[in-house]
Amino acid sequence: MRSLLIAIAAVFGLGLASAQAQSPAPAATTKTDLMLYTSQPQDMLNAMISVFNRSHPEITVHFFRSGTTEVMNKLEAEYAAGAPQPDLLLVANALDLSQMKAKDRLLAYPEAPTAGYDPAIHDPDHRYFATKRITTGIAYNTKLVQDPPKSWKDLLDRRFKGQVIMPSPLYSGAAALHVGTMTASPAFGWAYYEALAENGALAGRGNGSVMEAVASGQSAVGIIVDFMALNAKAKGSPVDFVFPSDGVSVITEPVAILKTARNPAGAKVFIDWLLSAEGQAFAAEQGYLPALPGVAAPKTFPAGFVDPLLISVDPEILIKDDEQTKRTFSDLFGG
């Protein structure tokens, strides 16, 4: 009995000691720490930080990574607590950041190195900046699909009945923008999603769940962001990616500094690097379509890649309908 109690005490002591060792160090208490909240996959994030640190070893980048909606909800809770943690936000689509801007939570950074960029891609008030372009198109399993779909309408074909999977806007920022764009577009609208549901399409969680299902053959076809499918293809997965002929939606993965940032100077250095030719080239190396014109498309993209047709809708509509979009989607596809 005594030895048991000693063991318990030791365990407790160990736990406390190790917990204490980890628990302080709230982010960005010193000038060299930077806290980033992001929805980027973490292995890509680790690689990006190590490349960034080659030229800026003085800045240690910490991060919190999850699906965009979860990141934003966590941040929302932190605002409620009066202690937002991040210096920087790097999330999927501009919708979330424009809502942050509307709440006056973002720091303006007019000196950001935006020369060479299409001005329309960044926030006109310099509160957030596009870091790359990610389109949403169609991935398919090359072992299961001999005659790949070419357009969104093809997904309504009977041969893909029960075989289409897509990410949920309740989880993914890219999916939220994509569903919002499609349903706001007169060519598709909610009728398209009703037809998808009719054809037995499934909603997964994030884009990763779609990749998983398509690559492993659980679903033959998936609606997904380009880089994920093309990177998997490059690694040898039996998948390929189609930019649909009737258009793609695009997100810009914008970055922004919070007004409450503890290290705005460091945050600016980070943004400078992301927007630099070097940063953009590294994004391309990771398989992202760069936002800076003139930087070559990633090697994973098809040879002779030209920008696909964009489905464009008014961002105001997207922002206004965001919540209703999620609710309607959830009614159609469960959850």
Binding site: V11, N141, L144, K326
Partner: protein
């Protein structure tokens, strides 16, 4: 040990020390279990926007709510039935007969406890998918171009049942240990043989234990997140947990009030399960004292090979194949590429060990699991004693309250903790939110029930005559607790502590909203990697997690032998 009357009378602190014990236990339950839930209960009415009874009525009447409710009930009941058949059946065959390698078999029966639900779900999806070697083997392979059969109510039920069978198994095993050999011996002398002994003597005596296990399985099933998220969401089989998760993820803190109502529905379902369990305990004969010889195994005779073959086939398919699939995925060169001897690669493992976040997550989860298990063990024994021996309203209330954080889906407890600990603690100015401590606080509330159940079973098995004798001899409650109850209940309590460790080590749902940068947990990492479409890396992390768990289990076994702990302290030890 019996404290002489004179001594106990001289103890001025007799009453005080007892109050201290009870007060401490009550305080623990109040702070870690009750407080967050009270805060949650207040939320629908406290909400500034859209709160109030109208909102409650609207949520209750919504079609999504009704669907999720019936789905939850269906999956909960059906999977519990499966868990009882599988877990109870395995416990009787492994625990009561002369099959060989019982230690190993027991351990394999408990494997689902070591594998996080979401990973088990992924492994099963691969097993049952269009290219499944398993289904082809038995001629059930689905043609390509068809939906994975596990994306369905049946898939959810199947996996929940298998995931929770070990709970019934453990409860039934504990019940078997408490069975007196005399009865079986008597039946045998009267000429009864194996099946008849099982049916007429063992099963009736085992009923309370089976029911206790079933209640735990039911409560876990309706609160499960990993399986219902991975199979139920794509299968359009929404349950209350996934409805809550998706609402929160999609709409943020604004829907906290709505979600609180859904949580209360879930609490009601769990409460019904717990009431059933309490009723079963009430009807139980307090038969067993552990002073008779342990149950002698029933000989299987010429059936032994057949029984063993069936057992290994079943466990091979349900427990080992998913593990093999997991390992295969961890070694695969890329998503969707088959692992062969030539293509296998350790790249994913290298990536895991090169990832600082992953190493931190391993440390964090180990620390959380150890502390939660240790504290649970210390708190559960006195609390169980209080609950089982005192049927006072307070004791009963504590019992139910302690169950709630475990019965509710973890995501609800985490929301409660966010509501409670978001702002710095009044007077102290220390904020728990975004720290390691909020995870620990949540775990301490969450897993108490898991250590309490076995501890209560242990206390309940103690012959009341022992305590009565001590009482008559003048021993006070404290003396009786430490001299009689604790030593006898300790093995069961330790088993509970171990269950907590295993559950906490792979915990996902509570951590999902409470983790912060620097305070990652293993479950969160596995889930994140899966979500990022990097399930090969997720599989590699899971393999590491399973190996680490096995290593801990092995170390515990060695320790138990060296310290000569009584049999049954470790669930897999005979």
């Amino acid at each position: 040990m019996i404290v002489p009357r004179a001594l106990s009378r001289r103890l001025p602190s007799r009453l005080t020390s007892e109050s201290l014990l009870l007060g401490g236990a009550t305080l623990y339950v109040a702070v870690f279990c009750l407080l967050p839930l009270l805060r949650l209960l207040a939320e629908p009415l406290a909400a500034d926007t859209g709160g109030g009874w109208q909102m409650v009525v609207r949520v209750l009447g919504a079609r999504a709510t009704t669907t999720a409710f019936w789905n939850t009930l269906e999956a909960g009941l059906a999977s519990t039935l499966l868990a009882v058949v599988v877990g109870g059946g395995l416990a009787i065959v492994v625990g009561l007969t002369t099959v060989r390698a019982r230690g190993l078999l027991t351990f394999i029966c408990l494997i689902p406890l070591l594998i996080p639900a979401q990973i088990a779900a992924l492994a099963w999806l691969e097993l049952a998918g269009p290219n499944s070697p398993l289904l082809r083997l038995i001629g059930l392979g689905v043609a390509t171009g068809q939906r994975n059969p596990l994306y369905s109510a049946g898939g959810v039920i199947w996996l929940l049942g298998l995931e929770h069978a070990p709970m019934v198994f453990l409860a039934a095993r504990a019940g078997l240990r408490a069975l007196p050999n005399d009865l079986v011996e008597a039946a045998r002398m009267a000429g009864a043989r194996g099946p008849r002994i099982v049916l007429t003597i063992v099963l009736p005596l085992l009923r309370p234990a089976l029911l206790a296990g079933a209640a735990l399985a039911f409560v876990s099933a309706i609160g499960n997140f990993g399986v219902s998220a991975l199979l139920g969401i794509p299968g359009r089989f929404p349950m209350l947990t996934t409805l809550i998760y998706r609402r929160l993820n999609g709409f943020g803190p604004d829907v906290l009030a709505e979600v609180a109502v859904l949580a209360m529905i879930l609490a009601g379902l769990a409460g019904a399960g717990l009431l059933l369990q309490a009723w079963a305990w009430g009807r139980q004969n307090r038969h067993a004292a552990r002073d008779t010889a342990a149950l002698a195994p029933l000989p299987l005779g010429r059936w032994r090979l057949l029984v063993e073959g069936g057992l290994w086939l079943f466990l091979g398919l349900t427990a080992l194949m998913p593990l093999a699939a997991l390992t295969g995925a961890a070694l695969a060169p890329a998503l969707g590429v088959a692992t062969t001897w030539d293509s296998a690669t350790l790249d994913h493992f290298r990536a895991v060990f090169a990832n600082p976040v992953m190493l931190r997550a391993l440390t964090n989860s180990f620390t959380l699991a150890t502390v939660a298990g240790g504290v649970g063990l210390v708190v559960a024994a006195p609390l169980a004693y209080f609950i089982v021996t005192r049927r006072a309203p307070l004791a009963r209330a504590l019992n139910y309250i302690a169950d709630m954080p475990y019965a509710l889906p973890g995501i609800i407890l985490s929301i409660s903790c966010i509501l409670l600990y978001l702002k710095p603690l009044p007077g102290l100015g220390i904020g728990l939110y975004n720290s390691f401590w909020i995870l620990l606080v949540a775990y301490l509330g969450r897993f108490l029930a898991l250590s309490l159940r076995p501890a209560m079973a242990g206390v309940a098995q103690i012959d009341p005559a022992l305590e009565e004798a001590a009482r008559v001899a003048g021993a006070g409650p404290m003396a009786r607790f430490f001299a009689i109850v604790l030593p006898l209940a300790a093995p069961a309590a330790a088993a509970g502590g171990l269950l907590v460790f295993l559950a906490a080590f792979n915990e996902l749902t509570v951590s999902a909203l409470l983790w912060s940068a620097g305070h990652e947990t293993l479950g969160v990492m596995v889930f994140s990697l899966t979500d990022e479409g990097n399930s090969n890396a997720a599989a590699a992390v899971s393999v590491i997690a399973v190996l680490a768990t096995l290593a801990v289990a092995l170390a515990a076994t060695v320790f138990a032998r060296a310290a000569r702990l009584p049999k049954g302290v470790l669930p897999w030890q005979d």
